[in-house]
């Protein structure tokens, strides 16, 4: 056989080793977080009527976001938010969960931040986050006042 053929065989072996190393180098492990979501129970019904959407964000060693169905088909906030189950392939670091509540203008009116939770590979961590009203400082008067000027 010629040297070219030998080189081809060597190249094939090198590519095999390269791709093999890429595909089978390490096995993924996941860390799971079960997040209990809730809104401040002291929020007034008038405030809740302004809610149009909710979202859960993950920050820290990993980042993600998901929409939380907090408004029912009747246009009102659901009595209880569904829990979330988050998985990450990160093996170190910390994660924080942020629940955001938006009004019809996509303005943030309530927010809650969870503590920072350490990532435990192959572990299951329970987390919770509660959204509280944000003081926007717009001078908006309480609902009991009727809002009339």
């Amino acid at each position: 056989m010629s040297s070219i053929l030998k080189k081809s065989v060597l190249g094939f072996a090198a590519a095999l080793a390269l791709f093999g190393g890429m595909g089978c180098g390490e096995e993924t492990t996941y860390s799971y977080f079960t997040i209990r979501l809730s809104l401040d129970p002291t929020l007034e019904p008038e405030f809740l009527n302004r809610v149009s959407a909710c979202a859960l964000e993950v920050t820290g060693s990993d980042e993600a976001q998901i929409t939380v169905p907090c408004v029912g088909s009747n246009g009102k906030v659901v009595p209880s938010l569904p829990p979330a189950d988050y998985s990450t392939s990160e093996t170190t670091g910390q994660l924080q969960f942020i629940l955001k509540v938006l009004d019809l203008n996509q303005k943030l009116i309530a927010e809650g931040k969870s503590p920072r939770y350490g990532i435990v590979p192959n572990g299951q961590t329970a987390a919770s986050v509660e959204a509280k009203k944000i003081d926007t400082g717009t001078g908006m008067k309480p609902a009991g006042d009727g809002g009339a000027r």
Binding site: S8, G11, F19, G23, E27, Y32, P82, A84, D85, S87
Partner: protein, 130 residues
């Protein structure tokens, strides 16, 4: 030749004319035999397939082909010596390239497993989730 024969005849006693003619003919044949090289016996007596063993036929054919190959002093042409004109080179190249691609595609598939299933009523998201 004729001088020798005349002198020989001069030394010897006279012979009958028929005997002298026979001797002359024998001498002519001998001279002819010296001038003409002997043909190979194989060629002189070609054997048929029915009466010649296979081994003998091979011995007749193979040495000839081998001798031709050995005696050919002509240098290989550039086209013959070029590896890119060899069919086995392209076959090997196709196998190597195709094998590399196939192995690469298979090996580069995500080796990570899917995350666990989503429990009913949960909002599942993150890595390993579809």
């Amino acid at each position: 030749m004729s001088t020798q024969m005349v002198s020989a005849r001069a030394d010897e006693p006279a012979k009958p004319e028929a005997e002298a003619a026979a001797a002359d003919e024998t001498a002519t044949e001998a001279a002819a035999a010296e001038e003409t090289p002997a043909l190979p016996t194989e060629i002189a007596t070609p054997a048929t397939d029915d009466e010649t063993p296979t081994g003998l036929r091979r011995s007749l054919i193979a040495p000839t082909a081998q001798a031709d190959a050995e005696n050919s002093d002509e240098p290989e042409s550039e086209e013959d010596s070029n590896i890119f004109t060899k069919w086995w080179f392209w076959t090997a190249a196709a196998v190597v390239v195709g094998g590399t691609i196939a192995v690469g595609v298979l090996a580069s598939q995500p080796g990570e497993k899917q995350a666990r299933g989503c429990m009913p009523g949960y909002l599942c998201f993150g890595d390993g989730r579809e």
